[in-house]
Symmetry: C2
Subunit: 390 residues, 2 copies
């Protein structure tokens, strides 16, 4: 029988539960959380691609591990029941969970059935990431592809470009976002063009995005949490994993995943080397224009048309059923009078929203060439957007 802080236990179930498969027909043991009490109370989840581990303090004797069924239901019950402490006791085929006036016997699986979560036992690369580094990931996040066929685009590619500067790249084939991030505290080497999966990044941003403490991002050989240290000779460490680990209140939380096993395309080819035309626009006015037209343009498939006016741009949206609309935005540019180019409204908006400066600079060639969208005052970040035929 062990005891732990009720709120920390509920929080740990929530955090580790992020990797629990919600799908009703998933393998049953993947719908459980593995619970171990050795040193700390450790709660592990896995959907076989992303793995989580939440640790809290406990009192009592070390117990055998087990895999707890229906962790989201247990968390809701514990949250509502109140009380300061929660009691866990392993019984035959069930685990007793008691707190406040609640006394529940929850079904369990044998611990060995659960794949568990790995930890980095042989760190090959490590860096402390703070709010700025997490913000950089959040900024290029919209450009990550969600299409399954080109699975190697379902993540962020990281490349060391020298001088402790790392280039973070995301693209879905329609738009490309690049952010150069200085990581002066980085130790070790990251393999070139390693691809961090989207699910890992999403979970990292969701859990640690508002954390005030830096989190440890590492890459290296991994072992299960309960592997004794003596078995961790380099030759025994398992597959190479990415992991991020940090403190969230009373819970130590770690996320692990393998990098995506694929080759990220050479994006340098699509970045225009030089551009003939440029437009500079107030960012707030541009975002307002796109948002206003975007709703009329029915979602993401409809193109917005950009034409040159003497004192700015005219942006137009049309819909075969509902009509058409134009919006004039003041801008300084060197476009020819008959210039016309089309962009997907949602993608264009994403590129503008990833910027934070006052001005947006568009760098354009012909209406079929990739265009660059950037903040002239921020050289670390830019987007490349493919135009649409209009």
């Amino acid at each position: 029988m062990i005891q732990a802080d009720r709120r920390a236990f509920a929080k740990a179930l929530e955090l580790a539960g992020a990797a629990v498969t919600r799908h009703r027909y998933a393998i049953p043991v993947l719908q459980t959380l593995k619970i171990s009490a050795i040193g700390r109370l450790r709660i592990e989840g896995s959907d076989l691609s992303t793995m989580t581990c939440a640790e809290i303090d406990y009192e009592g004797d070390p117990t055998e591990s087990f895999a707890l069924c229906a962790p989201a239901k247990v968390r809701a019950a514990v949250n509502h029941a109140g009380g300061d402490r929660v009691t866990l006791e392993q019984q035959e085929k069930t685990a007793r969970v008691a707190c406040g006036k609640l006394d529940a016997a929850i079904a369990t699986f044998p611990a060995d059935d659960h794949p568990g979560a790995p930890r980095i036992s042989q760190e090959r690369f490590g860096v402390d990431m703070g709010a700025a580094e997490l913000r950089a990931l959040a900024r290029i996040r919209p450009a990550i592809s969600t299409e399954e066929t080109r699975y190697y685009l379902n993540g962020v590619c990281v490349r060391n470009i020298g001088n402790w500067l790392y280039r973070f790249i995301a693209t879905d084939g329609h738009r490309l976002m690049i952010h150069d991030v200085p990581l002066p505290g980085a130790e070790g080497d990251l393999p070139d063009n390693i691809i961090i999966p989207r699910a890992f990044i999403d979970m990292m941003l969701a859990r640690f995005g508002k954390s005030r403490e830096p989190v440890r991002f590492s890459f290296g050989g991994a072992a299960l949490w309960n592997t004794p240290e003596t078995d961790l000779a380099p030759e025994n460490s398992g597959a190479l994993h990415l992991a991020v680990r940090g403190e969230l209140g009373k819970v130590s939380f770690a996320i692990a995943s393998k990098p995506i096993d694929g080759t990220f395309p050479d994006v340098q080819r699509v970045i225009p080397k030089e551009t003939k035309h440029h437009v500079e626009i107030d960012r707030a006015a541009l975002v307002q224009a796109i948002q206003s037209l975007h709703s009329l343009g029915e979602g993401k498939t409809r193109a917005l048309k950009f034409t040159a006016e003497p004192a700015g741009l005219r942006i137009a949206a049309s819909h075969p059923d509902f009509g058409e609309a134009t919006y004039d935005v003041a801008a300084s540019h060197n476009l020819p009078a008959d210039y016309l180019i089309g962009f997907n409204g949602q993608y264009f908006l994403d590129c503008c929203n990833a910027l934070s400066g006052e001005t947006v600079r568009l760098e354009l060639n012909c209406a079929a060439s990739p265009s660059v969208i950037r903040d002239p005052a921020d050289t670390a970040f830019f987007s490349v957007l493919m135009p649409m035929r209009v």
Copy 2:
């Protein structure tokens, strides 16, 4: 060409849009809003069962009516475009909508294609409803049936029980909620057992629920808004409608609907005349117990078992896959030692949540008889709940 306040216009589109069918394959003209500028700018919506009318001030000459396509898209565009005034101008087959730097030509239908919204021209019953009366409707709202086969249960039945007291009744066959509401300001007569549709009540609560001004609830013969007063002799007024009308900032908003054409069952039969057993429990503790167990009981189909303990009740939930749980609540009661009764957790919770006092009183007979759940300090409201076999 007419002009109106942009924010009021957007608000009016939103309010009237509540009755616009969202379904993609609905009749196209029901996806539009009818716009007329005669006296006031009037925006009418209809899904053929619930009708809305929002009115705002305008400047300019009266114009012909038209039915505006894609009103939700127009509203989003107008909201984002900014500017103080919006300009509306009817053109051939389109309407020009301009504000700020936005200039849109939106497709229209002929006004005659739109069914429009009725107003009560011959009030047979009318009453000003304030926050207390709306709260009474909100309280019994959870018991309204959503099942289509017994369509006459899809609303609230109202019955004049004398002394300016009106009984509001809702039931879905599993639970029954009754609220007696004094309406001393009521004028005229309401037909006995009139059924107010759920959609009308939901829209009324959503739009006027936080209104500080009283709203006018009326019943009577209805005519279209633009019918000249001279045509409103009693013999010309159309079908009998329910309506509610109030001011929301710069917008006058009205909702109209026919009452449900059916016979509400005689609920008096299921209200137990006398009860052998009673239980008195602290409401907060009971709600906490149900919520804690409810999450384990997997949604609404699983029963919660209530058994008598010397100093209170033991409530138990069980799930064939996940295990079982018990929760002890202190209570004073006169139940026999072997008493056992089951209730649907969600329904029980709804009945407890509809109460606001400190204590809940359960009035019980045998495990198969309807039970009463009430606040002993509040005689105006009570619920009757059918038990489940456990």
